[in-house]
Structures are given as C-alpha cells and as structure tokens.
C-alpha cells in the first residue's frame, strides 16, 4: 500500500471492523501522488462526489466505503454489495473510466473523481445498448450481479468494440453470478457489439405440436413423410 501512513492513519485503520481483509486487494487511487492529503476523521467529514454527471454533497466518516456512501448515503442502490471483499464484482462502478470495486474504495478516495454507476448508463429513459442487450438475451436472473456485470461489459466494449468470447469471459471473470447467467451474458455482449442478433432459436422441441402417429426426429422436425402418410390414413 503505497499511501499507507501518509495521513497519520493507515487505510487498515479506516476499514478495521468493517471489511476485514479488504485492504490487501484494495485498488490504490491513481491520482494520489505528491502532496499528502490532510488527516481526516474519525468523525464525519463533508464530501462532494461527482456521480453520473451530478455533484452530490454528503457527510461521511472516512471509514465509509464508496459502496455504502452510494447505497445508504445517497440511495443509489443499483450498486450492490455481495461479498464486501472485492471478490464478486457486484459493487463494480467506474471511477475515472476504470472499473473498481466500490466496496474496497473509500468514499473519501473518490473525491474529485468522475464516478459512473449503473444509474448513469441509461439516458432520457432509453437503455444503453448493453442494457438493452442484457434484457433481450435474458442475461439476468435474480439480477443482483447485473449492475456490476453490465458495467464490466460496458468497460470492455469501450476498449474492445468487437470482443471475442474469451475476451468477454475475461472481462466478466471478476463478476460472480450465482444464478449462472454467463452464457446469456456472452450473448448479450455480442448483441451489443453487433456481432449477433438476439437468438431466435428455441430450445423447445417442435414435436409438442405434433399429434397422432407422426414420427419425430431428434433434430426437432417432424418426419414429413410419416406425418403426411398418417394424415392420409
């Protein structure tokens, strides 16, 4: 941790008790450089955050994570917390164009940075193409991983407009989905990238609608000859 101790307390102190173990994997803010920031806390401090193009003012203890500030402080609950240790990606948001785990980022660290959450993707009531594609491909079941998943995919498409399956899987490899939406997530990204259209092929075999003695082949089609013969009979 390059910035530990600079402000008279360590990052470890800040999160102690809240998210033990989170520190080791914490994403160090890139902008923190030459000048040591002033000491903050332990009481609440005023904070301005630029989220989805809007400035939000709030007062938080320095130990409060960005995820909690968004969710509990500002009511931006589209960002989810599922592990609290940066292992599941549900809390993914973009900070200055990079995806980060907001459960490992302190709210005060995000000061002066441009934050994008899931709430910031749709404009004027219109879904962004990746959101649209997630709905179309049913790339969401319970939906709890969806916000983070979509932001990871959005970041991927920004850098790699025509990704391969491997690149998509790499991009969401930090986003855990317990329902198992991955195959549909891959499809959604391909739809958003213009690599495919929503799948029209149904997993439902056709013989459902076949009555009588028609024979049926396992490719889902009725054996026409037999079907016709049956009809004649």
């Amino acid at each position: 941790m390059s910035d530990e101790g600079k402000s008279g307390f360590t990052r470890r102190d800040l999160v102690r008790g809240a998210f033990v173990g989170a520190v080791a994997a914490s994403v160090a803010g890139k902008g923190e450089g030459a000048a040591a920031p002033p000491a903050l806390g332990p009481g609440p401090v005023p904070l301005e955050l630029a989220i989805n193009g809007q400035i939000h003012r709030l007062s938080v203890e320095p130990r409060v994570t960005l995820a909690d500030a968004l969710r509990e402080g500002l009511g931006l609950t589209g960002t989810k917390v599922a592990c609290g240790r940066g292992a599941c990606g549900a809390c993914t948001v973009m900070v200055d164009g990079q995806t980060v785990c907001s459960c490992l980022t302190l709210a005060v660290e995000a000061r002066g940075k441009k934050i994008t959450t899931i709430e910031g993707l749709a404009g004027d009531g219109h879904l962004s193409p990746i959101q649209e594609a997630f709905v179309k491909a049913d790339a969401l079941q319970c939906g709890f991983c969806t916000s983070g998943m979509i932001l990871s995919c959005k970041a991927l498409l920004f850098c790699t407009p025509k990704p391969s399956r491997t690149e998509i899987a790499d991009a969401v490899s930090g986003n855990l989905c317990r329902c198992g939406t991955y195959p549909h997530v891959f499809e959604a990204v391909e739809i958003a990238a213009g690599l495919r259209t929503a799948q029209a092929q149904s997993p439902v075999l056709a013989p459902a609608f076949v009555v009588g003695a028609s024979r049926w082949k396992s490719d889902g089609r009725v054996d026409q000859a037999v079907a016709e013969a049956t009809e004649e009979a």
Binding site: D68, K80, G84, C145, L176, F186, A208
Partner: protein, 763 residues
C-alpha cells in the same frame, strides 16, 4: 364435474384421455392451440428495472430514520454462554437498541451461532457496538468431522434432545422422530421387495462408497430484512422465497395475529432453498425495531451467510447393486451418513428409489450431528449427491457387465420420457464415438463423456389464488402474492394472463410480492409455476367470461352463445355480430370487471409421471495438473410445456452451471482444530465463474400432461440434479478409473489416474 377428452402425451406419442375438469376452470390447452406467447422467447418484464439498477431489492430499502442491525456470533465451535453484558454497547454514540439472543447457561453449538444484536444509526457504528458487547464463554469439546462425530467417544453435539432453531424449509423430509445414538440419528429407512432375494438373483454385484462435500447456497443477496412497526402492525421487506411462510413465522415468534404482519418482497437476489422462513435474523430485526422504536435494516454479511444461513449436507453413500447378466437391476441397497451440522435433512435416496426400475430396494439414511451451521433445503435436496452416487454405480455395473452405460440405463429406465431424452442427448453429445474421442493432441489431456439422469416429483398443488382485473381500455392487472427469486415468475404470471386474454403482454401489469395480495405459493420444490400458472389462467378465464357476459347483455343474447376466439367476441353461428376485445371492454358497464380464482386440484386422471431429465457431459482432464474442464453439457429436460422458452433456457443453464460448480469447486472447509470455517468468503469458497462455463445445449421436451390447465411443471431443481454425476462419470471415462468423491479436485483426479495406472482398464 364435466369430462373433457384431451390429447395428452409427448413427442408424437399422444393418447386420448377423459379428464374431469373442475367447474369454472379452463380446459387444459390443446397441443394444436395457436399460442401467441406460450412457448416463445419472452424477455422478462422486470428486465429493464434490473438492468438499470431501479429494481428495489429488500436490501435496498431505505426508510426515514432507519437504523442498521448487526448480530454478534459465537467464535467457538461449542461453548456454554456464561454471561452477557450489553451496557457498554448501549452507551456508544448512535446505538439505539441492543438485545441478547442467547441466554446465560445456553449451549452454543457452532462457530457463528447468534449471541446478541444491536441497532445503530450507521452500519459502522453498529459494528463498533458489537465490539463493545462483553460475553463470557466456557468453551466445550466439539467435533466437526463426520467420521469423528460417528465415534462413540465423540463429544456430543446434543446432550439432550435436538435443539436447533429451524426455520421453514430447513430440514426437508424430517417428519417423525428418529432414534439417536451419540451424534448419529436414524435411520430413515425404506424397503421394497427383498434385497437378499435380489442379490441372490444377481449375476453381477458391485459396491462402492461415494462422498460429497458441504455446499453453501451463497445467494448474492444475503439473508435479512428491513422491519418497521406502526403501532402493533409490523411490515417487513424480506429477502425470501416465501412471503407467507415468513409472515407465519414472524407472527408466531412475536405473538402477533398474522393479519398484523405484512411481508413484501418486490425483488430478490436468489435463494436456492435457504430462504423460506423469518429465521433468527428476521425475528431479531423486528425485535430491534421494536426496542429502538425505529425501522431497522438487518442483513447478514457474506461470512455470516456461509456460517449460519444453511447448506447442502455432506454425504458418505455406500451403495451395493446387483443385476442379471442381461443388465436388469435386481437389487439396490443404500446406506448414507451425512452431516448437516446441527440439523438433519441429509437423505440422498430420492434418485436411487425413483429413477431406475428395481424390485428390491433398501435405503437407510443417517444424520450425523456436528458442531457446524445447520443445513437448509438446497435446490433439489439430496438429489445431486444421490444422483452422483447412483450414476457412478450404474457405470460400475455397466463396466462389470461389459455393457454400454447408456444401454444399461435404457434397459432399466421405466420412464418413456427419459428414455427419449437419453436418446436425444446421446445423439447430440456424440455418445457413439466417445471411445475414439478419448485421446487428444496433448498426450497428458484426456477426454471423457458421461451421463446422468434426473427425477423430480412435483406438479404443484392447490392453495394459490390470483386476481385478474380487466379495465375498460382492454388492459389487465394481475395480483398474485408470489415472489420472483430470479426465475422469471413475474413474467410467467404476465404471459399466462396475456395468453388467456389474447392481449399483448405490454397491456398486462403484474403485481407480486406482498402478503396483502391473494395467496401465492412459496417458491420451493419446483412447484411455483405449476401452482401459480393455473390459478392465474383460471382468474383470467373467469374475468374474460365476465366481459363476455357484458357483451351478451349488450347484444341481448344468452351468455352461452357468446364465444371468444382469435381476440374477438362473436355470437355463435352469426358472423355478423363480432366485437374486438378492446371494443368489448369499452362496453363494460362498470369501471372494471375482476375475478379471483383458486388453483384447481390436480387432475387425477391426467397423463401423470415423474418429471424426467437426462444430461450428458464432455470433459477434458489434464492428468499432469489434475485440472478438469467441462467442455460441453447437453441438458434434455421435461418441463411440461414451456411457458417462456427464454427464461426456461436461463434456468437450465443456471442449473447446469451450479452443477459444474458443485462437481468441481465448491467445498465448505472446517478446521478440525478450531471448528471454524476457513473459507467463509467467495474467493476461497470457489464458485464457478465465467471462465469455467461449458458450452451448454438446452433441449426442452414438451410433455402435455393435462395435470393442470397449463400443463406446466417446475424445472428449477431437476436441471441441477444430474450434472455432477454426469461430469464425474465423464472424468472417470477420461482417466480410466472411478471418481468417488466431490468436488473433483486435482487431488481426486491424481488418485484416480494412479488407480488407473496400477490397476489398468477403462472405467
């Protein structure tokens, strides 16, 4: 009751059956019906809300003045609580309530058991308060390993009677009291025919022991609630699979009439079986809110979720099987010991008793108590573990008989549907040339193909009711108190109503997730769709009849003469009198018509069967690293008829993926020295991720069973039953020796590779 002649069956094998239909219930759909929505790929109604973050899950609820609750848990695998002092915690800034959950003198039986709880004005301050609670524990001897716990000298988890705080759905199948000796409870026994006779008649006999691990549910939204009191009325926003079972449990725990408790679950982040009851944390949230006189949000964190919110028990299954030379099963004997920590529910006999035909079957199931968090129902309780052991046994038999494993299944499978599924799956996976595919370009990597079967039982039942309201503009509202775990249940409700009314889905608004609505079923046992869909359809049908009555009145003809088809009302035999749906609704004499209908009884005389599934897996095994990659899974399943092909496909993929995860990665690890879980997180408790997902081919075989008016069957559970078994058999095929343990870690693979090397021969 009127009898209707229905064409029932599947895949061209249809037969005519006379089925009794309850009065005022619609006749089951005909296979020749021209559906506009049923069976099509329909994106879910709440997709937009979920993709934009607007969907408000229970954990997202924020109320004015809301406090944050946290629970203090015992760090000891076993201890007696001596004293507890909340006074220092209560004095901390922002702390508004502190309560003891355990009492002095109480025995705490696992690391993670609830001791006390606090509510404060921020989550961080609540954690500060937990640190200020003084507790004195007297540690006691404990046991966390099944083999140790079975010994006569083992520390007893329960000295007296079994005292586990259980919640709805926690110990499926636990009905009558069982004998207990030490930590071992059971057996739950069943016997059919005579296994002695069966083994006497057998030409070949195999036996083996198969072990499975403890799996935790790990739903992404943890367990918890937001609780708010208004006078003596309690409202909770719960993350639950059963709003009504939560209501019942809260009312009982807090001595309230059920009418004073309201449970809301608008959106919910997964359950998988562990979220039926109010549970300790729910009751605690309500108590804290009462004490603080303010709403309280109390949700578990990931660690607590692993320790105390339920799990799929482990199993050690010994199976002996006999068959005649031509491959007919003559006897099956299962003895299983499993541990669900401080809870039972460890039976695995379902697949063995219900998949392959055998006249002589004996099963003995034992629960072994250990000092670990209690089990809970988990997606097809007992079945993935039972299927793994059974299918391995079938492969062992096939090998000894010198018979193709698929042929052995086909010979013994009494289910016509599953035999068809086996044939479809075998063709798609390329079963015939599986031997020639075993070698890959890399001599260290071997390929294997395996299969497994699924059985499930439920076709839903009575209880659910739904209300459909039709407005003058032709739009409709459905109210039905069920919850959508992520399965697409909300959309299913909309599809059924829209199909019955012949209106576009966009004109239907669906309200679910509130105990103030007509009763909806708990989402368990794969019964949601077959219980709910018929009630919704019946309500829509009855509401539509009321529109028809209004039309008949306007036309001055008897109501029976008005027909509805192709989206329009008409007088029978008079093509000149026709009215579109919208025009008809515009003529409604009142603001709206509505009907509330009950789910009718299952049709006893319909085409009944156990729900069947078959899966085939193809794997690549690196014999140098021990790593297994599942390359392909073909999943062929019966789910009655499909209401939403897109959501059904999602369910199948999800079930298969969870099965892959169970087969290869997941394992709750307890430290024998401290009794604590060493991986209560999601980086060391390994769950399948995007990079490990196989190519999945989903095939849904429609079965028109006529059991309810929509022919619907749930698919959530059966789709995860056979996956682990199919994968294990594929790995066995690849390495040439039997896989007898889950998860199939490199250690397990190396042991099998070594066995194959020393003994020789293919599995």
């Amino acid at each position: 009751m009127p009898k209707e002649t229905l064409r029932l069956g599947f895949a061209g094998k249809f037969e005519s059956k006379q089925v009794e239909i309850a009065p005022n219930d619609p006749v089951p759909w005909s296979p020749e019906a021209n559906f506009s929505l049923v069976g099509k790929r329909t994106p879910r109604l709440d997709g937009k809300a979920k993709a934009t973050g607007e969907a408000c899950y229970s954990i997202d609820v924020r109320l004015p003045g809301m406090l944050y609750g946290k629970i203090l848990r015992s760090p000891h695998a076993a201890a007696v609580l001596r004293a507890i002092d909340l006074s220092a915690a209560k004095k901390l800034p922002g702390v508004r309530a502190a309560i003891a959950i355990a009492k002095p003198g109480e025995k705490l039986r696992f690391a993670g058991q609830e001791v006390a709880a606090v509510a404060a004005d921020s989550p961080e301050r609540a954690l500060d308060a937990l640190a200020a609670i003084l507790v004195s524990y007297e540690p006691a001897p404990f046991v966390v390993r099944l083999e140790e716990a079975k010994k006569e000298t083992a520390p007893l988890v329960f000295e007296g009677k079994v005292e586990t705080r259980t919640s709805a759905g926690d110990a499926p199948g636990r009905r009558k009291p069982l004998p207990r000796k030490g930590n071992v409870q059971g057996p739950r026994a069943s016997e059919k025919g005579s296994i002695e006779e069966g083994f006497r008649r057998a030409d070949v006999i195999v036996e083996g022991t198969y072990e499975t691990q403890v799996q935790t549910h790990t739903a992404l939204e943890t367990h918890g609630m937001v609780a708010k009191w208004e006078g003596d009325e309690l409202t909770v926003w719960a993350s639950t699979q059963g709003i009504f079972s939560v209501r019942e449990e809260l009312a009982e725990a807090l001595s309230l009439p059920q009418s004073k408790v309201r449970v809301i679950t608008e959106y919910m982040g997964g359950g998988f079986g562990a979220k039926f009851g109010a549970r300790v944390e729910g009751v605690t949230a309500a108590k804290l809110a009462k004490e603080a006189n303010a709403p309280v949000k109390l949700f578990l964190d990931r660690k607590e979720e692993h320790l105390a919110s339920g799990n799929r028990p482990s199993s050690v299954q010994w199976i002996k099987a006999g068959a005649t030379r031509d491959g007919k099963l003559t006897a099956l004997h299962l003895v299983v010991h499993g541990t669900g920590g401080t809870n039972g529910g460890t039976g695995t006999s379902g697949p063995l008793k219900n998949i392959y035909a055998c006249e002589n079957v004996k099963t003995e199931e034992y629960d072994v108590f250990t000092n670990a968090g209690p089990s809970a129902a988990f997606r097809a309780p007992g079945h993935p573990q039972g299927s793994f052991a059974l299918e391995a046994t079938m492969d062992e038999l096939a090998k000894k008989l010198g018979m193709d494993p698929l042929e052995l299944r086909l010979k013994n499978d009494p289910s016509e549907v599953r035999r068809e599924e086996f044939r479809i799956g075998a063709e798609r996976i390329g079963w015939k040339d599986r031997e020639s595919r075993r070698k890959t370009e890399n001599p260290a990597v071997r390929r294997g193909v395996g299969l497994g079967a699924a059985v499930w039982y439920n076709t839903g039942g009575t209880g659910p009711r739904a209300t459909v309201r039709i407005h003058r503009d032709g739009s409709a509202e459905v109210e039905h108190g069920l919850q959508d775990l992520g399965t697409g249940a909300r959309t299913m409700v909309g599809i059924v109503a829209a199909e019955e009314l012949s209106i576009p889905l966009e004109k239907v608004s669906v309200a679910i997730g509130d105990t103030r609505m007509p009763y909806g079923p708990a989402s368990g046992g794969s019964t949601t769709t077959p219980s709910s869909a018929p009630a919704v359809r019946a309500a829509a049908y009855q509401a539509k009849k009321k529109v028809a009555e209004a039309v008949a009145k306007a036309w001055g003809v008897p109501a029976e003469e008005v027909e509805f088809s192709g989206g329009a009302f008409a007088v029978r035999g008079d093509p000149s009198r026709k009215l579109s749906w919208t025009d008809a609704c515009a003529k409604l004499p009142e603001e709206e018509v509505s009907a509330t209908a009950d789910r009718a009884e299952n049709h006893a005389d319909a085409w009944k069967r156990f729900t069947a599934g078959a899966q085939f897996a193809e794997v690549e095994v690196d014999t140098e690293t021990g790593l297994v990659r599942v390359k392909r899974v073909v999943a062929v399943h019966d789910c009655g008829i499909v209401l939403n092909a897109l959501a059904a496909e999602s369910q199948v993929q999800g079930g298969v993926i969870q099965g892959v995860s169970y087969a290869l990665y997941e394992n709750r690890v307890l430290d024998a020295a401290t009794g604590r879980m060493v991986n209560p997180n999601v980086e060391q408790y390994k769950i399948v991720g995007a990079k490990d997902v196989p190519e999945i081919e989903t095939v849904l075989l429609p079965v028109w069973d006529g059991v309810n008016n929509t022919h619907s069957v749930g698919i959530g559970e059966p789709v995860t039953v056979p996956t682990a078994g199919a994968i294990a058999n594929a790995v066995s095929h690849a390495v040439g020796a039997r896989i007898r343990r889950l998860p199939i870690t490199p250690e397990v693979v190396f042991a099998a590779v070594e066995e194959a090397r020393t003994k020789g021969g293919a599995a």
